[in-house]
Symmetry: D2
Subunit: 274 residues, 4 copies
């Protein structure tokens, strides 16, 4: 399990999420209180939108708490839309190419969660990518591949729907090849204009996702864990939800992975049990 924070609104210094709060992302890298993994020390990353359509990105492999570059950049850079991530590795070694956020053109993506049996389904997942998306793969994580698959399935045109298709497809693959599917995720992604997030799990244990207003009116942050102890501030987003932060403020929708009915995990498992 990793930890992340994202923001959309009036330009804000990255440090307001990354280093300053009581439970800042750097603080969480040392000691996350709600996550299953106590330490998120396998690298970190930032993607922020500025003057250009494509985001800036900064990733490195040291624990976030000991990286001087991260502190200085978070203090200097101000952005109206950014994603920040600290990693606890599940799949893929500790190297920059495996650190979130992943970026493709103007799109950025980061993820907290797990795809069970990834080793078994990695290859057919990769086979769905066209040459451009295939050649864009530089790391070995399940997260990067899920991002590329969603891009392949139309993330640019129908962000939430394409992500739902990608997740549903991964579930189907897993059911076909392993007889079971377990995906737990909170992911955030953006094109620099709108910020999207989804919280989802095939079981009852979806990783947490919270939203809170931050700074000027109409500005919000989305986080895997609250950044402080002000319980009234943070709204927990229910599992099976998508959140859309745009110029219209915060919007929410259901998030239902698209899959054929007969392949739903419950149905299949019942069938197997029967």
């Amino acid at each position: 399990m990793c930890r992340w924070a994202a923001y959309r609104g009036e330009p804000l210094y990255l440090e307001e999420l990354v280093t300053s709060p009581a439970h800042s992302l750097i603080e969480q890298s040392h000691c996350a209180t709600k996550a299953k993994t106590a330490t998120n020390a396998d690298g970190f990353g930032l993607a922020w939108y500025g003057d250009r359509p494509e985001p800036g990105r900064f990733r490195d492999v040291l624990p976030a708490w000991s990286d001087c570059n991260l502190k200085s950049l978070a203090r200097q850079i101000r952005s109206p839309l950014f994603l920040a991530h600290v990693r606890a590795a599940t799949h893929g070694s500790t190297r920059r190419d495996n650190c979130h956020p992943f970026v493709h053109g103007i799109w950025s993506f980061m993820h907290n969660g797990q795809i069970d049996h990834f080793d078994r389904i990695r290859r057919p997942m990769e086979s769905m990518l066209d040459d451009d998306h295939f050649n864009a793969r530089v790391g070995t994580t399940d997260s990067e591949l899920l991002f590329l698959l969603a891009l392949q399935f139309g993330l640019r045109e129908r962000p939430i729907a394409a992500m739902a298709e990608a997740v549903g497809f991964v579930e189907q693959l897993s059911l076909h090849l392993t007889g079971a599917a377990r995906i737990r995720m909170t992911a955030a992604f953006s094109d620099g204009v709108t910020l999207y997030a989804v919280r989802y799990s095939t079981d009852e244990h979806a990783p947490t996702l919270f939203a809170a207003p931050m700074g000027p009116k109409g500005s919000y942050c989305l986080v895997s864990e609250p950044l402080d102890d002000e319980k009234d501030t943070w709204v927990e987003i229910p599992a099976g939800s998508a959140v859309i932060l745009s110029e219209n403020g915060l919007d929410a929708a259901e998030f239902n992975p698209v899959r054929e009915r007969s392949l739903q995990p419950e149905a299949r498992l019942e069938a197997m049990a029967g």
Copy 2:
């Protein structure tokens, strides 16, 4: 172009090739005289055989000349068979997973050269791997993939023949998909008992390969460039050759990539020209 050195014989401190000679591998990382790329500063690696069947491995991304760990290890470790490499990146970013030597079970492999149009043929090359070899791929270099392909084609049983098949297959792929094939390589590989090397190019510009006796009788080193200016010591291995260092001493053979006649580069290009 990268630089490498390999040794088989009586146990020798790695520093005898890596740091001590006038043109040691570290010295070459700063200023290679025969290589096309003046600087080989995109990481380095060692694979050495000791008490265990599988080799030890040490790789890192700093220039070899500034890595204290490398100097200390090369001074302490003594081995009867080892491979050492300094990298100038052509394909794949600068990270440990892309540094040579690559290791799979008891086998190690390192490479200096280039496969033209690798971006176009990477995918069908990967598609030839069975699940085990596919899942063993952790980096993005052409070299690692060539190694896995040779393993797939039987490197364990017929080392030189399998490498010839792998290289020939890559040429065919390239001809089919790009209308041309250019591969230049000097590669070394080993199972911990025998040390193999090949020098080959589709054109007249095969990277250099030299052999010299070193230390006690029956001990030899193979290098991409001589380690000192004693011209009488170093024998240049001709292009299109394989070298085998075993308990029987140094042996040589032709190295002819296996490909269908009608797909030979010359033929195909003539056909295209016609």
Copy 3:
């Protein structure tokens, strides 16, 4: 607080302490149970004695659990005397030069603990070093400086006595300049023949130190925390003790920092209170 393990006896693969046990040093880097700091992810290091008088050394800044080089080296290298360390930074940034063990000629040293008010006494500590020891300082940690001070005070000739003088001197400096002295430490050091360790604190909270026989008769390891749950195996070394592992087996002695009586912390604090 850091974690460490050291060994002296018949040649042993480093992995027997570093990666294999239930509470191996790598396991402890993720989750130390007795230490105050839960995570020791600010680098690691090895110093081992082999054929040469001076030890080999390997240090790096990633968390120990994610470093492939460490795993491979620990699996390949066998040594009759070695030190291994995982770091949780207190003084000095995360970089190789600040990772233990420190090495000077044939001597190696590693440390777990803290010197309060180090920023106030660093300069006079450095001023005690002669040019050779001063120029040998490459990092910014209190640990490296304590090691150099002990060398300056005669570690080569009278290891335990010189360490006691160094610690006593640091206490005096702290009392003079800050009115208080608090040092907590477990340190191990060696010349490649004998392995020394001390456990000491100015208060009741000396970091733990345990000893256990390991492998063939006459071989022992010393650790900051037991490497497994076999409670009968591990003997806790009392605070105020030195342990000496030599060809004569395990020996223990009192460890009393040498300082002028009138400057003892208790006396001084009483005086101040009076």
Copy 4:
């Protein structure tokens, strides 16, 4: 010898100096044409001024050409005053703390050159620093120490004069302790408002320094080597000069290290010869 570039004027993307020109700083890291050291692969750094009084800073140890973070940051960050540096190590190991620019409060500093016999004069140089400046030292380079010495001597109030005093003092130290003094340098430093540079050598071989207008009227860059082959654009600054870039445009002055007459190198050497 290192390479550097600095800019003051209308806000400019850092990539205009760092990555885009024909002889950009990254290009020079691979192959500097006028410098003595062909490769500047021992790390790099940026310091840029933005909304805050103190500069942002980003430094790392990989060769500049292979660092993805550097490319992304240089493309995103726009600043009215920045310093950029690629390093070829002379004194001090390859680690972030030894990479330029150095920063202290609002001041930044970077340097290309050498101080002969630095090992002999390092200690008395450090002894001139008051506690605050002493404790600010985190690396081991001559450059960082020269910067701290200039701060100690009044860089904040009289930038050029204090630098001249610092350089003169270092010459004196070297003469006293080694009987000779050789300093070659081009340095740039700034408080975020004004950009200063000096070119100086005790002999005829001062490292090069060039100035050119860049972008909107009143904007200039200073570089150790021209960034392109437009010879008419680049004005070479003579040795023994200081350059001041402020809101008044480009100004120049003599740069004469302040030292007692009897200790001038020529005098001293004459005296010794006599």
